[in-house]
């Protein structure tokens, strides 16, 4: 069998197997069923082993701290970085401990602790996203790990740029920010595009230095924050046209991070007065005024939008060294309530 025949057979097998999978397996969607409960991930501080979960039950009005340790019987670890629900599992990415803790989303029983080590060296996982039964995890050692969500084993390592940070699935592709943060001041400036089907990097797009947060717009474009150098080069948001995987636009406003809101993008920025503004992806217009009044928020750290109940959540890290809180707002910015959480509140999942 010559090379071309081998390639042809491989491609046909791949397509067939993809089709078969799609027919036989019903994959869970990333949006879990929104109920009356949420888990808040508190990042904790580096080398303090104090990442934690806060459990909030709206129905009973109770908030419980150190929830992971209560239910699993051991601490979560050092520097919790991401939490997501996929199917009936909750995935918690713990960066410095270099683990992914997988919990049953109904019983909260620990299903598995995935040790993210490579020949005894911690891979330092950062963020997680999902596509058809596979979890994609950025690892600061320059790879995106692919985990089979059924057996929770790492099935592939895909080399990308340096210090990959945020990632987001759009269609059958995974967009990965290669931050290059550990090469300061020579940051990376690319976004890797991975085929979620072939599990290979198919392109690197030059976007601007220090790429970070990524959001997928309702128009199909992918939006990426280039964080600059926190000095002379300012942060910017750029757009990637996913049909060609090329940088299509750069927007002249500063931005910390992005959240998806019903097809549009929430722009969170803290240079000067903190603000959250809506960016209309169709008209390319950024709202003038902040949706949220930040008065009383000490250290706005992250923003998350929950589409199923139209809520905006602002995570107040409270100077990073004091107990933080989560503030809940309606989709148009009306304050609803606040929850006390743990140290450096970061993200949440609804259950």
């Amino acid at each position: 069998m010559n090379y071309k025949s081998l390639l042809f057979v491989s491609l046909v097998s791949l397509i067939l197997s993809s089709c078969l999978k799609k027919e036989n397996v019903v994959y869970p969607t990333i949006e879990g069923q929104v109920g009356q409960r949420m888990l808040i991930l508190n990042e904790g501080l580096f080398q303090q082993n104090n990442a934690s979960l806060t459990w909030a039950n709206f129905t009973s009005g109770t908030v419980s701290q150190n929830y992971f340790q209560q239910i699993v019987g051991r601490p979560l670890g050092d520097t919790g970085n991401d939490i997501k629900k996929y199917g009936n599992k909750i995935y918690i990415v713990v960066n410095t401990s270099s683990t992914i803790e997988v919990l049953d989303a109904t019983t909260f029983a620990l299903i598995k602790q995935i040790e993210m080590q490579n020949n005894g060296v911690a891979k330092q996982p950062r963020f997680i996203d999902f596509h058809e039964g596979k979890a994609f995890v950025t690892c600061y050692d320059g790879f995106v790990d692919v985990i089979d969500t059924l057996n929770l084993n790492v099935i592939q390592r895909i080399q990308v740029g340096s210090n990959p940070d945020h990632l987001r699935v759009a269609g059958d592709k995974v967009y990965v920010s290669n931050s290059g943060g550990l090469n300061f001041p020579d940051y990376d400036s690319t976004v890797s595009v991975i085929s979620a089907l072939s599990l290979t990097e198919i392109k690197k797009i030059n976007v601007g230095i220090n790429p970070g947060s990524i959001a997928v717009g309702g128009n199909g474009d992918v939006y990426v924050v280039t964080r600059g150098n926190f000095g002379s080069i300012p942060s910017r948001m750029i757009a990637i046209e996913t049909s060609t995987d090329t940088k299509s636009e750069s927007y002249a406003f500063e931005v910390n991070s992005l959240s998806e809101k019903n097809g549009d993008v929430l722009i969170f920025e803290t240079i000067g007065a903190p603000s959250i503004k809506l960016f209309d992806v169709n008209s390319n217009v950024l709202q003038n005024a902040s949706l949220i009044d930040f008065t009383g928020i000490v250290t706005p750290y992250e923003v998350q939008y929950e589409s199923s109940i139209d809520r905006i959540y602002v995570f107040d890290a409270n100077s990073y060294v004091n107990i933080g809180k989560v503030l809940e707002y309606s989709g148009n910015g009306g304050f609803i309530r606040a929850y006390q959480a743990g140290l450096v509140t970061k993200r949440l999942v609804f259950l």
Partner: protein, 622 residues
Amino acid sequence: MIPYIPHPIESQTLQRNDIQELQPEDIGQLLQKFAGVSMKSYGGLGGMKTFSFRSLGSQHTAVVMDGFSIQNTQSGQLNLGQIHTSNIESVSLGKQSNHVRTPVSSLNMANEMGLSTFEGWTVFNKKQVRASIKAGSFGQSDNYLGYHFAKKKFGFTIHGKYRQAKGDYPFTMKVGDFEYQGVQSNNELQELYSGVSFFLRPNEMKQPVRIIYRNTFVDQELPGAVILYNNSKGQFLNTQKHNLAADWTHKWGFTNIRYYAVYQYDEQHYLDSNYFNSAGSLKRDFYQNSGQLGWRFERHTIANLISFYGALDQQHAPLTSGALTEPLPQRYSTHNNLGFRINEKKYNLDMRIGYQLVAESKINGEVFKLRNLWAPMLNFETAELGKRRWKSGFSTSTTVRLPSFNELYYAQVGNQDLEPEKARQFSLFTGIARNHRSWFFASKLVTYYNQIENKILAIPTKNLFVWSIQNIDMVNALGVDAGQVIKNRINTKWNTEVQLNYSFQYSVDVTDKNSPTYGHQIAYIPYHTANVDWSLSRKKTNLRVSSSFIGGRYSLNENVSNNYLDPFVVLDASFSHGIEIKYKHKVNLQFQVKNIIGQNYTYIRSFVMPGRNLLISLNYEL
């Protein structure tokens, strides 16, 4: 009768006998024996150790070895884990001793740690040899040799020490109710210390000229913090230090003048072999020079009733490193001090004013910031009164500590606008010391109020990964140090001694009333610390039991249960037996168990300390 013992209130001092019995790994372990000290130890032999004294960070304490200041303008503080004790004759902590050998830069600081070493001696017509061989747990071995030879007019001392350790030790770390067990690895250490000193005098009536050279080479793995579920390590540190110092004290009638010069060269190479940059590792190199030139005079009146003193020294400290935002930061400082002492029969009064002119430069020696800093001090104390040698007094001073080069220029975190951290100290002290037949009792009580303004802290600014050094805090510290020494000569063969120290520190953040940490105890300052040492000796045989208690404290300024660190007690015991053979050859064999109860403990959150360990040492002295 017990011989006259100096009043313990004047300074907290440990002499060589105590040091030998305690067999500390380094000066850091010794300092814990002093009231008011809060130690920060990052674990392991040779590991980073710093301390605060009465809630003032270690940068407020001058380190003076044999009358010469030792400085580190890069980090602003010395790693006490790299000052060994084999050559130490005495260590003291507290107010400056203020005699002609005290350098002016020390007088302008809040406190002083004074070290007197074997090689700093200027004893003439004497030959001395000291040697020790030690072996202990964690693959530790330690060899020291010191030789002192002096004729009528000149003498010299040479010394060398080599220590190595494999260092790995098992640990149990408590996180909440969970106990995490493992082995603290990446602890290998090799250290070489050596030096030579010369001293000569034209005649027996003159003070000698001293020239002292010391060097230090340390190659060490850094165990770092224990990270739950992740045991990957790969950090290394290489340190090299050279120190050349010389002085001459000239007596001219009622005037003493001391001239001194110090040159110090430090090199530090840090490597993180698992760093995910394009090179695959992170390497940081620092090259630091510093020079100091100064003189000091003391003029006594007849009968020493009044003494005037003044001093001036010039310092220059450049630092080179690729890790800094500026290629060659430099600091030029001039220290001045002028004061007088009144030594009345019933009281002593010491008043002085210190002044520092500091020029900071970052490019080509051009000055971009001039600092004018004042350091007034007043100390009043009664003379020892009556049989009980009762003594009391008060002291107040205002001093500053300058921001270090790391704080000013370190990549990403440095802040060139930093102001010095100011410390105001007020203390009241009283104590008695009494010899009564075969007993000696001494008690002391120090109450103090310290105020720290413009405290220099590293805080995250833009996000958790972008930290910056800022002047932010105001801290008030109210404390009490209490000490008790009891010695008893039971009979001609048996002696016993008990030493107790207790400290209470109420050290709170008063920066911002709206802050959640307002009025909270400062991180890593325990409310209560104590130590008790008991020794029993029969002729040349000695048993010593030594304990340290560190009370509950917090790892962050917010005093909540998640930040709480449990109190702990560490108990050590040593047993030694000495023999003296002809020609004054003394041999001593010592067996020591450290952390007898196998306490699991940390000074700093996640930095675990070793459990029970053993040390055997054979000491020789001529």
